[in-house]
């Protein structure tokens, strides 16, 4: 698998896939997409990078252990249900904030943070499985 | 249409139950996978089959126009698929590890936790 062409193209391909996964994540509120499918795309990007350049390179590139990424996502998703406590609404009721940034109205909402949490959970858990399997192959 | 689907689901269950009764762990796993798919089809059919438009609200409207397909079974199936996928992955790894450690994938021969010929507890006081 470690041909010159693949090894040269893999970092660019992986970067492009991660970028695309974030695009899919953000458009997910009203259109097809979302955290789960975005997370799968990002995890497959890490898997491709791992096949081409070795698991150690991926682990260096993502800095944190995949399970920690997963845990952070779970934490964020859990927290995103809480803001409605302060508005007298039940758990997980969506809250919206409209932030004006550089002349553009950016809608921020708790479903967005929930989706980012899901994204991180999926990225973390799937890539930790994929990396563990790739590691075993190399022994 | 529902009747045809019911027969198909019945066939899925038949195959799944047959495989689940096998002694070979790999076959049991295949049975679990087919069982999961049978359930998904079952939920899909319970939500009634309609040739209607997908439940997406057009851009300018607040509520969908006309009849739409039932979105709830699809949400339920999505949940069930994710769960059965993760269970299947876990079972696959577990069976592989068990095969490595125990040296068999025959469920009848897996007697490490419950050894045959255990002695009875001490009698009398």
């Amino acid at each position: 698998m470690r041909t010159v062409i693949f090894r040269t193209i893999a970092p660019y391909l992986a970067a492009l896939m991660v970028l695309f996964s974030i695009f899919v994540l953000l458009r997910g509120h009203n259109e097809p997409g979302g955290g789960f499918i975005g997370g799968l795309i990002a995890a497959s990007a890490f898997a491709i990078y791992g096949i081409a350049c070795g698991v150690a390179a991926v682990r260096r590139a993502i800095t944190f252990h995949p399970m920690s990424i997963s845990a952070a996502g779970l934490f964020l998703a859990g927290l995103s249900g809480l803001p409605s406590l302060f508005t007298g609404q039940p758990f997980m009721t969506s809250q919206w904030w409209y932030v004006h940034m550089l002349g553009v109205e950016v809608p921020l909402s708790t479903p967005l943070f929930f989706d980012i949490g899901v994204y991180l959970v999926v990225v973390g858990s799937i890539s930790s499985i994929a990396l563990a399997l790739e590691e075993r192959e190399s022994d | 249409m529902e009747a045809a689907f019911a027969i198909l689901i019945g066939m899925f269950f038949t195959v799944a139950v047959y495989l689940l009764m096998s002694r070979q762990l790999v076959r049991v796993l295949l049975g679990i996978a087919i069982l999961g798919n049978a359930v998904n089809l079952l939920i899909f059919t319970s939500g009634r089959l309609l040739r209607e438009v997908p439940p997406v609200i057009p851009e300018a409207l607040q509520v969908p126009e006309g009849t739409i397909a039932n979105p709830l079974p699809q949400a339920l199936i999505l949940t069930a698929i994710v769960i059965s996928f993760s269970f299947f992955a876990f079972l696959l790894v577990l069976s592989f590890r068990a095969y490595q450690e125990l040296g068999t994938d025959n469920t009848v021969e897996m007697r490490v936790a419950e050894p045959t010929g255990e002695t009875a507890p001490p009698q009398g006081y």
Binding site: A71 | Q62, M110, T119
Partner: protein
């Protein structure tokens, strides 16, 4: 776009009134365990801080569940619908006295296990995630007790199942893998049966909200298709609860993991199955319970007797206790079979008692192993001299599990036997009393062999074996505190049963007379 911009009348789809902050206690158990589990997972390399995080969050969980129970006793059944969608469309959390009591008992047991785990789980076990799995297991257990939506119940079952897989294989020994294969396969088949039944139920009634199902079955009656669903539910949850013909996964797996994991499993997992049976046949389909009551009674008696006879035949202490778990399930099912208010109250009370006493017994077994070096009744002996305190603790728990006064096991059996005699089910009462007698023999024999006799098999009576002259390390406060906590509750409930009696009767009255439950979900429109 703010909500007010919509031209649609939202009051037709949403609850518009504000939710009092106290109602958030319904969600608090889930939020606390998820956040705590995530924090423990992030601290995976820092194995010293994990127990601290877990104990802090589980203490919060106990407080939240206690607050929830107080609120339910004060205000009646509580409902919160996620996202404010009007039931039956939103996912509802509906908490009655039964759910809140069981959640509180489970969280106390989980706290005890987290403390016990400080000693029992080494740093490699912590890196493999004992504490995160324990917290996420509690997410599943509490979610199952508190939810008011049957598909949501399925999801919580899966959450607790996948966490239990992680706990079960912690350590990766040969026997564990063998036990885990059987546990995993049979439990997955059981949850799949649950899902099949739920799919069919949705096809028949077109709803998944428990209160809505109860309302619809009450008005339409139970016909052929609904009976099929009821029987499927009975099979699925009987498998989960390890009832008689489908109990074989429990003795095959519960003795394989670390003892603290076995303690948590013995306390919690089967009771979640019993809870689901009580909820479905008590609240959702009372008519189906009437039709099936003879079958349930036969299954209950067979479960009691096979459990206790199995316990009599075991040499391994952990397997003996596993069979006692099964035997206890039979008593709870007997309450369900009779179905009257006092009988259901007995079943709920018995579940609380069984959660506390089985966990404490497994933990005590762990200490006995630490002192005597084995779980085998043949190799244990002379422990009374090694630790009289432990001997006393085990004897009290043995009395409690057999249903002898003055401990917690006595009162639920009184309720059940009394209900059986009142309804003319003398044979159920007889079976419960016979099971109590046989249980006394089984655990009494453990006490006599492990504690009272001088040494292991082969040593002359009255002499100490060399290995016991120097007792092994049994750990300090981390081992004794959880056992003392659970034992204290067993004794207090035994001496002062009024509070538990009242709570169990409140829980049972919601099942027998579900109007309060329905009104909590749908408001006063329900007649």
């Amino acid at each position: 776009m703010a909500a007010s911009d919509y031209s649609v009348d939202l009051s037709q789809a949403m609850r518009m009134d504000a939710v009092p902050p106290g109602d958030w206690l319904m969600i608090a158990p889930l939020v606390i365990t998820i956040l705590g589990g995530a924090l423990c997972l992030m601290a995976r390399k820092n194995t010293d801080s994990q127990p601290k995080i877990a104990i802090i969050f589980l203490t919060l969980l106990v407080l939240a569940c206690a607050g929830l129970l107080a609120r339910v006793l004060d205000k009646g059944v509580l409902t919160m619908v996620a996202g404010n969608w009007l039931p039956p469309f939103g996912i509802a959390f509906t908490v009655d006295a039964m759910g809140a009591t069981l959640a509180l008992t489970s969280s106390i047991v989980a706290l005890a296990a987290a403390v016990f785990g400080i000693n029992d789980i080494d740093s490699s076990g912590r890196r493999y995630g004992f504490y995160p799995f324990l917290l996420l297991l509690m997410t599943g257990v509490c979610g199952a007790f508190l939810t008011g939506d049957i598909f949501n119940l399925y999801v919580w079952f899966e959450v607790l199942l996948i966490s239990s897989f992680g706990l079960l294989v912690l350590g990766n020994e040969r026997a564990q893998l063998d036990g885990a294969v059987k546990y995993a396969l049979l439990n997955i088949i059981a949850t799949t049966l649950f899902l099949i039944a739920t799919g069919l139920l949705y096809g028949i009634l077109g709803t998944l909200n428990m209160a809505d199902i109860a309302r619809k079955t009450a008005s339409s009656g139970v016909d052929g298709p609904l009976m099929t669903v009821a029987v499927l539910y009975f099979l699925a949850f009987a498998m989960k609860a390890a009832a008689f013909p489908v109990n074989f996964w429990l003795p095959a797996s519960y003795h394989t993991p670390r003892i603290v994991v076995a303690a948590v499993f013995a306390g919690l997992l089967t009771k979640v199955g019993v809870y689901a049976l009580l909820r479905i046949f008590g609240l959702l389909m009372p008519e189906a319970r009437l039709v099936l009551s003879d079958l349930i009674a036969v299954v209950a008696i067979a479960t009691m007797l096979t459990g206790v006879i199995g316990a009599l035949a075991q040499t391994d202490l952990r397997r003996l206790l596993g069979y006692l778990v099964i035997s206890g399930i039979g008593s709870m099912l007997a309450g369900l079979a009779m179905g009257t208010g006092p009988a259901m109250a007995g079943a709920i009370f018995y579940a609380v008692h069984s959660i506390l006493v089985m966990t404490a017994l497994y933990m005590t077994a762990g200490v006995m192993r630490g002192l005597g070096g084995s779980y085998s009744l043949r190799e244990l002996g002379g422990l009374y001299r090694a630790s009289p305190l432990l001997a006393a603790a085990f004897l009290m728990l043995a009395f409690a599990v057999s249903g002898l006064p003055p401990f917690s096991g006595f009162w639920p059996k009184v309720l059940l036997v009394d209900a059986a005699l009142r309804d003319g089910h003398g044979w159920i009462a007889g079976a419960i009393l016979l099971t109590g007698l046989l249980t006394t023999i089984a655990v009494g024999r453990v006490w006599i062999y492990a504690f009272w006799r001088g040494g292991a098999e082969g040593t002359a009576d009255g002499q100490l074996t060399a290995s016991l002259a120097v007792p092994r390390e049994v750990g300090g406060a981390a081992v004794w505190m959880p056992i003392a906590l659970l034992l204290g509750l067993v004794v207090i409930i035994g001496l002062q049963p009024e509070f538990m009696m009242q709570v169990a009767q409140r829980g049972a009255s919601t099942l027998v007379e579900p109007l309060g439950y329905l009104r909590s979900v749908f408001g006063d429109i329900v007649q």
